[in-house]
């Protein structure tokens, strides 16, 4: 069974204090690894899809990287508007469904 573990559960940052979120996964064969951002009471907002080890993607202050066992979401010089829960999910080859981690809740203080 596919497993996704995210750490830490919660992260409190000062504005401008860069940090990284971890997503460890086990999957029989990786079709894709996904990062989403979720604000309270809203649906997850798509950020990145990563397909193979060594791949990196960037969007504004966020950068996602992928190895064979884990993915990192780096937040560079965060702002208060980056406060959200960040979800990691994997999809196995030949499968439709996403297996989600529990998420990391990031709070950025001004």
């Amino acid at each position: 069974e596919d497993q996704v573990t995210q750490s830490p559960e919660a992260l409190r940052l000062q504005e401008g204090e860069s940090s990284s979120l971890n997503c460890s996964y086990t999957v029989s064969g990786l079709r894709g690894l996904f990062w989403y951002r979720q604000d309270p009471g809203k649906g997850p907002e798509f950020l990145f899809t990563l397909y193979s080890a060594g791949e990196e993607k960037e969007k504004e202050r966020l950068k996602a990287t992928l190895t064979k066992k884990e993915s990192f979401l780096h937040i560079t010089a965060p702002k208060p508007e980056d406060s959200a829960t960040y979800l990691c999910a994997v999809q196995a080859l030949g499968d439709y469904k996403l297996s989600f981690g529990a998420g990391t809740t990031v709070t950025v203080r001004a």
């Binding site: 996904f34 809203k42 907002e45 798509f46 899809t49 439709y96 996403l98 989600f100 529990a102």
Partner: protein, 110 residues
């Protein structure tokens, strides 16, 4: 921009009522999904559909059914609502691997 809409943001129902949750996507996506999200349990797949009139059970289909009569619309049906179905319900759609989520429906069953 992908747009996935859900019929209600908030819904309050009584135990035993039949409940319909509707989801519409405007991107001609083949695949549509229903998840529920609960604190401590994360997102779990209820049902998905890979074509009109085609459906497959996810991880937690008990107590739910679905209908997909048109490509753009995917309905989740709670045949007889129970209090343990109080949750946030999220619809998603995809063409390739990446799933795009709607805003969610928060359902309270009294």
């Amino acid at each position: 921009d992908v747009k996935v809409t859900q019929s209600s943001r908030y819904l309050v129902k009584r135990t035993g009522e039949k409940v319909f949750l509707e989801c519409v996507q405007d991107m001609d996506h083949e695949n549509m999904f229903w998840y529920r999200q609960d604190p401590g349990l994360g997102l779990r797949l209820i049902y998905f559909s890979y074509d009109v009139k085609m459906k497959e059970k996810g991880d937690i289909p008990e107590g739910y059914s679905v209908s997909r009569e048109k490509k753009e619309r995917f309905s989740l049906i709670l045949e007889s609502a129970s209090t343990n179905q109080t949750s946030m319900y999220l619809c998603a759609s995809s063409f390739g691997v990446t799933q795009y989520f709607g805003p969610g429906t928060r359902l309270l069953v009294l």
